[in-house]
Symmetry: C2
């Protein structure tokens, strides 16, 4: 159909509308920032009716969460290189590519905006984080089962993900390969 999508995928039109709406969201976040646009703005940018957006996602927050989940999770299966150091380096490099890519900073801002402040109970973005942390822990557990040292997903969050997230959120880029390997080396 269009580039990067399988040609005979069932539900082609629905998938195309989904992709257009997702792209409209990331464009609007990049241009205006989170919170500065409505469902109507997204629909207009995507060239679809407001009602199509509401019917499929129900609310702006659900749509935003869907975009963040899709962008930060589905695109990146966990590495399985056979060694803990290899897995962590590949994982860190993959996250760095995602969050510094064309819409990466916008999507990261979105993921943070959708996360709990600790005062309002669980928010949609917390599900994103929990899911991601489970995938990461599985990778670390595989290494431990092979006889390598045990690491907790929170260690990786603190010393590999958090520095990269904060640098991208604050615009302190690029994240060079040396910088990323340094984070992994320090943790190990």
């Amino acid at each position: 159909m269009n580039e990067g999508q399988p040609a005979r995928r069932p539900g082609g039109r629905s998938a195309r509308v989904g992709a257009q709406v997702h792209q409209a969201v990331t464009d609007l976040i990049s241009e205006r920032g989170y919170g500065n646009f409505t469902v109507g703005d997204v629909a207009a940018r995507a060239g679809v009716a407001d009602s199509s957006v509401y019917r499929r996602w129900g609310s702006l927050e659900t749509l935003l969460t869907d975009v963040a989940l899709t962008r930060l999770n589905a695109r990146s299966p966990m590495p399985d290189t056979g060694s803990l150091a290899g897995d962590l380096r590949a994982y860190a490099a993959q996250v760095a590519r995602e969050i510094t890519g064309p819409d990466g900073p916008a999507v990261l801002h979105l993921a943070v905006a959708l996360s709990s402040t600790g005062q309002q109970g669980l928010r949609a973005g917390d599900i994103l984080r929990a899911d991601r942390m489970r995938q990461l822990q599985s990778m670390l557990d595989r290494a431990h089962e092979r006889g390598e040292r045990a690491l907790d997903a929170l260690d990786v969050l603190d010393h590999i993900l958090a520095p990269m997230y904060i640098r991208v959120l604050f615009g302190i880029v690029p994240l060079t390969p040396d910088y990323i390997d340094g984070l992994v080396g320090r943790l190990l």
Copy 2:
């Protein structure tokens, strides 16, 4: 005048309005999240006219930046304990107190929301970060001048501030004294 404010401070009424508007902003961020309220909402919550807010701050973004700057900077002079380890421990504990306090997570979300995505040029929140980093570097430079090891403010950002920021943004709290000292110990 009211609690916590000097009684005969010049410009007392102006200071009181300022404090009410700031508190209204942090309340609204806690309750609704960044982006989900207008200058009108702030004015109504603070009990002042919309025009007072516009006259003083000009725009919602300027007001939000003023709140974030005041909350994250003015309240916390840099420690000067005589040793690098002591300074870092005191600084980390102070930041942890700020960002986990009653409005802390809301203010941190705000500071991140106001920071650059790297695609839009300098935003208001970047000034906040640059100012904070300069203060931090001065503290580190004092230690180096005393003959202690040289550290860069970015090392502190990566390995002390970033983990605490991300944990608070994602609602992974509390930040215990052991956790905070562990971050400092690992950096040193």
